[in-house]
């Protein structure tokens, strides 16, 4: 069993809706869908993001496309327009997700 970074097997994009950030997670190879489904859980993602996520994390899946959508609540308190963060829109946060580790 080897440990690798998520970015070695998947790609990702983030977007915002008010106080929420959503981050997709897309395996390059569909074979890795199951692996990600087992290990990259809502709890694991919430823990990885630490102080960045003040609310819950919800994971959705599109089985036909073998992709995931993580919705992170409370990443930009007061909404992106009033955010104090340099990355007000949280557009870099997909690259933070890809820093997670996964066992292959």
């Amino acid at each position: 069993m080897a440990i690798c970074k998520l970015h070695e097997i998947a790609h990702s994009r983030s977007g915002d809706k008010g106080e929420i950030t959503n981050i997709s997670l897309i395996p390059y190879k569909e074979d890795h869908y199951k692996l990600i489904k087992e290990q990259i859980t809502e709890t694991a993602v919430k823990e990885h993001f630490g102080e960045i996520v003040t609310g819950k994390v919800v994971r959705y899946e599109i089985e036909t496309l073998k992709v995931f959508n993580f919705v992170l609540y409370g990443t930009r308190v007061g909404g992106v327009a009033a955010a104090l963060e340099f990355d007000a829109h949280g557009k870099s946060l997909s690259w933070a997700l890809l820093e997670m580790e996964i066992k292959k």
Binding site: H7, H11, S12, R13, G15, D16, K17, G18, E19, I20, N22, S24, I26, Y28, H48, F49, G50, E51, I52, V58, Y60, I62, E63, T64, L65, V67, N69, V71, G78, G79, V80, A81, A82, L84, E85, F86, D87, K91, S92, L93, W95, A96, E99
Partner: protein, 447 residues
């Protein structure tokens, strides 16, 4: 079978103009859509309109129309755009003026008004979701309230046969879906087709984001020719079947990876994507690469649309002061930390208090917080960022002035200081019954 080609010539207010020209020239389009409004844009445009009643529309209107009006006649496509922002009527008049100046005619221009519901939300005292309080709580600071209108409100303009249709706030996918509904005669409760059309619309509404922009990296996801990145188009038939593509020879790429990323962009539950037109369901979508830069989209569906209109409310929310101080060379990070400590103590000594304050070490933790700190790589150069939020402009100004004094009163080797203070415009949300909104369409015909 009847089919349509709809292109996206702008994915935000300041987007590039030349790819839209390329698309207009070589896209063989029926419609060119320019999506020009972010969440905050209308609130900002309202401020502009207050100062000048003939303004308050998208900033690049003149440049876009000057480039695209001649092509719309020559290549026989219609332009659909929300560039009207806070003032679709002024945008209509400006566009007519440009057409006359260029000698383009006959040209029929329509403007959809009625998205502004400021009076309605004030009198209803609607509850704002983000602050969990009614409008009365922030009454004197509210500057705009706009309903996300949809296909139904746009149809009269399309049915008029206008060459250019200008709107204010309309849900982004509706701008693309309206031409499909109009051309194919889909019913407004044909949820399946509206769902299919919305999936295609959502895929291209952010221009280059589906053709390699906001996607590429230098390693796993290389793309060719960023400089001439092509804007996307969809070809769709009356059954709602279609594909995403771009003009041959342009830069970038349209493949299943770019489509997967963009399909999930800014959505929550993929089975329930809400627009004024439909609750679109992307949970069974299938992408198939059917040619070079050509991805077929099938399997989208839809359910009944939301009962009410979503409203975006612009509210003045104090001031944001932001400053940057840089250090390089030996112990750069420690010197930046010294600078931070000095500021913290000075703010205390001078009794400067803020609603919120944030310190970042750019190069270490500004974007990803403690995730980045785990890497334990000491950068050669570092930028200390200080951001303060205050109701009080003077307080924010003094805080920024203190950063500037680090030139003479802080650690050695300071490599530049920048500071700025800007009013904050928060954007809140609520909903309103459809019956509270009165859309109307104005026309100008340029001979």
């Amino acid at each position: 079978m009847k089919s349509l080609r709809i292109g996206c010539g702008a994915g935000y207010g300041g987007d590039r103009v030349d790819p839209a020209i390329e698309l207009a020239m070589h896209g063989n389009l029926d419609y060119l859509v320019l999506e020009c409004l972010a969440e905050r844009t209308i609130a900002l445009a309202q401020i502009t309109k207050k100062k000048n009643p003939n303004n308050g529309y998208g900033q690049l209107l003149e440049e876009r129309m000057t480039a695209l009006l001649p092509l719309c006649k020559e290549k026989k496509f219609a332009i659909v755009t929300n560039i009207g922002a806070a003032n679709p009527l002024a945008a209509l008049n400006k566009t007519a003026e440009i057409a006359r100046k260029l000698g383009i005619g006959p040209l029929k221009i329509a403007a959809l008004e009625g998205a502004n519901v400021l009076d309605e939300i004030k009198s209803r005292n609607s509850k704002l979701w983000e602050i969990d309080a009614p409008v009365s709580e922030v009454h004197d600071r509210v500057i705009s309230a706009d309903a996300y209108l949809g296909v139904e409100e746009m149809l009269p303009a399309l049915e008029s046969g206008a060459d250019v249709i200008i709107t204010g706030r309309v849900a982004d996918p509706s701008l693309f879906l309206a031409p499909m509904v109009h051309s194919f005669g889909w019913q407004l409760d044909d949820w399946v087709n509206l769902g299919k059309g919305t999936a295609l619309a959502h895929l291209i509404e952010c221009s280059a984001q589906v053709s390699g922009g906001y996607f590429a990296d230098s390693y796993y996801k290389k793309i060719n020719n960023f400089v001439d990145i092509g804007f996307p188009l969809v070809e769709v038939n009356e059954k709602g079947e279609g594909f995403v593509t771009k003009v041959n020879g342009t830069g970038g790429v349209v493949n299943s990876l770019t489509c997967k990323e963009q399909l999930l962009y800014e959505i929550g539950d993929p089975a329930s994507y809400l627009t004024p037109d439909v609750t679109a369901d992307f949970s069974k979508i299938i992408f198939k690469e059917i040619g070079r830069d050509k991805v077929e989209v099938t399997g989208a569906r839809g359910k009944e649309r939301p009962i009410e209109f979503k409203i975006t409310v612009g509210v003045k929310d104090g001031y944001l002061g932001e400053a940057f101080v840089s250090y390089a060379g030996h112990h750069a990070v420690e010197r930046a930390k010294m600078a931070q400590e000095i500021l913290e103590k000075r703010y205390k000594k001078l009794n400067l208090t803020f609603k919120r304050v944030k310190y970042d070490m750019m190069g270490i933790n500004a974007l990803h917080g403690s995730i980045g700190e785990k890497e334990k790589i000491e950068p050669y150069e570092v930028l200390l960022r200080v951001a303060v939020k205050s109701e009080n402009k003077e307080m924010a100004t003094k805080a920024m002035q203190e950063v500037e004094t680090l030139w003479l009163n802080g650690p050695g080797g300071v490599g530049g200081i920048r500071k700025n203070i800007n009013p904050v415009l928060a954007v809140y949300s609520t909903t309103i019954p459809r019956s509270q909104v009165t859309p109307k369409v104005a026309f100008v015909e340029v001979k």
